[in-house]
Symmetry: C2
Subunit: 406 residues, 2 copies
Amino acid sequence: MELKVGSWSWAAGLPAVMLREKTAKKLGVHEKGRLLIRVPSTNKKEISAVLDVVKRKVSKKEIVVSEEVKKILGVKEGQKVEVEISSPPKSLDLIKKKLKGVVLTKKEVKEIISDIVNNSLSEAEVALFVSAMYQKGMNFDETVFLIDAILSTGNRLHFRNKFVVDKHSIGGIPGNRTTPLVVSICSAAGLTFPKSSSRAITSAAGTADVIETIANVEFSIKKLKKIIEKTNACMVWGGALGMVPADSKIISIEKQLKIDPEAQLLASILSKKLAAGSKYVLIDIPYGSSAKVSLAKGRRLKKKFEDLGKYFGLKMKVVLTDGSNPIGRGVGPILEMKDVIDVLDPSEDGPLDLEDKGAGIFLHVKRGDKIVKKQKILTIYAESKPRLKEALKFYKQNKPVDICHI
Amino acid sequence: MELKVGSWSWAAGLPAVMLREKTAKKLGVHEKGRLLIRVPSTNKKEISAVLDVVKRKVSKKEIVVSEEVKKILGVKEGQKVEVEISSPPKSLDLIKKKLKGVVLTKKEVKEIISDIVNNSLSEAEVALFVSAMYQKGMNFDETVFLIDAILSTGNRLHFRNKFVVDKHSIGGIPGNRTTPLVVSICSAAGLTFPKSSSRAITSAAGTADVIETIANVEFSIKKLKKIIEKTNACMVWGGALGMVPADSKIISIEKQLKIDPEAQLLASILSKKLAAGSKYVLIDIPYGSSAKVSLAKGRRLKKKFEDLGKYFGLKMKVVLTDGSNPIGRGVGPILEMKDVIDVLDPSEDGPLDLEDKGAGIFLHVKRGDKIVKKQKILTIYAESKPRLKEALKFYKQNKPVDICHI
């Protein structure tokens, strides 16, 4: 059936369309059914979308499409689209295979991820995939396939600078705001630091929420490249970039379900680092009673990160840090940003635990000294001041423990 | 925040609301976030709904609510409602408990089911519950709790007639249209037969789809009672009745996921029979390569049905029938209805396999004879003609094998 795109701006959060009740009946679809939308002129782009039914406001020959549909199909108000019933995706059978404990092949993982990106799978179906990964786990190969699939359905950044670095904290510790410290100092010293962060998932504030108290965090990839060219670094919300759309979609379901399968955690972090073009990556795994993982689980996770990092050619350091307490003086976007500024500002006394935690904060230069470009930076990820002192002593006597040699 | 209900008629398939982008930002909710809607005047009714965001068409002080919200809250266009961010439901933690293999208590099962009915759980969250039941199974007690919970959140019918009967085929066999035969003959003989059927789930046509080729199948409960008073029976689509809303919601997710956990299958069928006030129930389990279950699984299922039927005070017969082949001459709503009419019409030759399969078709009266009220009816559920002959022989020599003695 040919229909005309309506004049609305509708952010449904997923590819969705609205039809008048009679039009839906003619197509034989009920609300929450799935439709295939195609642009006749291009004859290649098509998308599967969920149907909402309205009685007024939409005419019989009209189809209202959500922003997501507009973006993917590149259609505008008044344009004509071809609409038909959508058949169920084959990848659902593959998800059920995983649910039964079968190990998936590269092709199978790719089909699931590509259907997630194409929105051929509904929220309930993606939830089943998350549940299957949570229940049955994924082995090393499957996790590699997952990362490859997520990367292949997204965009990748490339930088000329040899030293593209990144860091990631597993999260879950309130006030653990090391990113703004590490990014500021490393970029000042000439490293390229394309850092994207999440909004709050498990804590009161995600790094993106904290940064947003003083700066915009939502940019296009194009704008992002310009920012990094100018400043060496960025601190943005990964969700707005859409660089690894499969990951964003899976995360939005994980957020609803509040479960975080290990394979997806690994794939999510590594795909983002690889997509951002990072070569040197520091992973921080806080452990303890209030952290996401215990020390034993943290150690297992460390091994998995290291193996995957090696496979994908990353120079990676994984550190286990004490995550038994909140860090800093306050929890919540504004208070956490205040802590960050207090640490960075030499005229203020920052919270000691956050200073201790901030990798690269304790340099072999004093606080207040101007950091110059190309200056050597220690990347010790110290758990406490005494530990840092030990590490500095070790550094003087041995080979430096750092993420890259510049 | 107080907002005015907009003038739309919007069938979203679930409780959903639309806000203008600015209003959503003020509330601090993104699209697909959850809002709690309350009617200030009543101060008791409230509902959790999913948010869609629009840029135009909705004013800043307006909230567009889906038909489902209107129905549950009883609000009308122009009325004022109180809106705030909704906190995540506690039952999600219970679902995760089940996913970890913990046996749930009566109170816990009830909380999950009641949150499903209140729409406090999203589609992804209900999918996780389905996945948990599928993965971990549910024991006898949990299945009883599930049936009790589904019944307590719905409506129940009551009939004065002592002989309220029902039948159910597990389904999955194309053309297996026994319902219209059994219902017609049993009701003609004076039994009350409040039969509701599903639309297509696994096959080309559900019984409701087949009946719809010659009659309306969507009625309110009130209208249904009138129909049964007049004709002794009904053949309607269960989805439109909303008698066991928890079951309908779980089924809509199962349909998407194409998985059917055993506990939910048992609960779904039994809750519908109990809600309809049935006392005598025949369950048909087709087994075989193209059926939903193997003979071994069918036998286990039979035992479970019998145990649950006993617990709930039902007079129940469970039969295993050969489901290795499609039944009748055609598959699809119209062809299947034609088969039914050919069987029922004495001037036509109906398909023999369907005649064989139809419980109550082979009566001790000949085809073409007028069936009179209160007449005794054989309810042998025969797998094949030779088997039927054996059964008839057995019937003559022994006590009748029937669902009830009238």
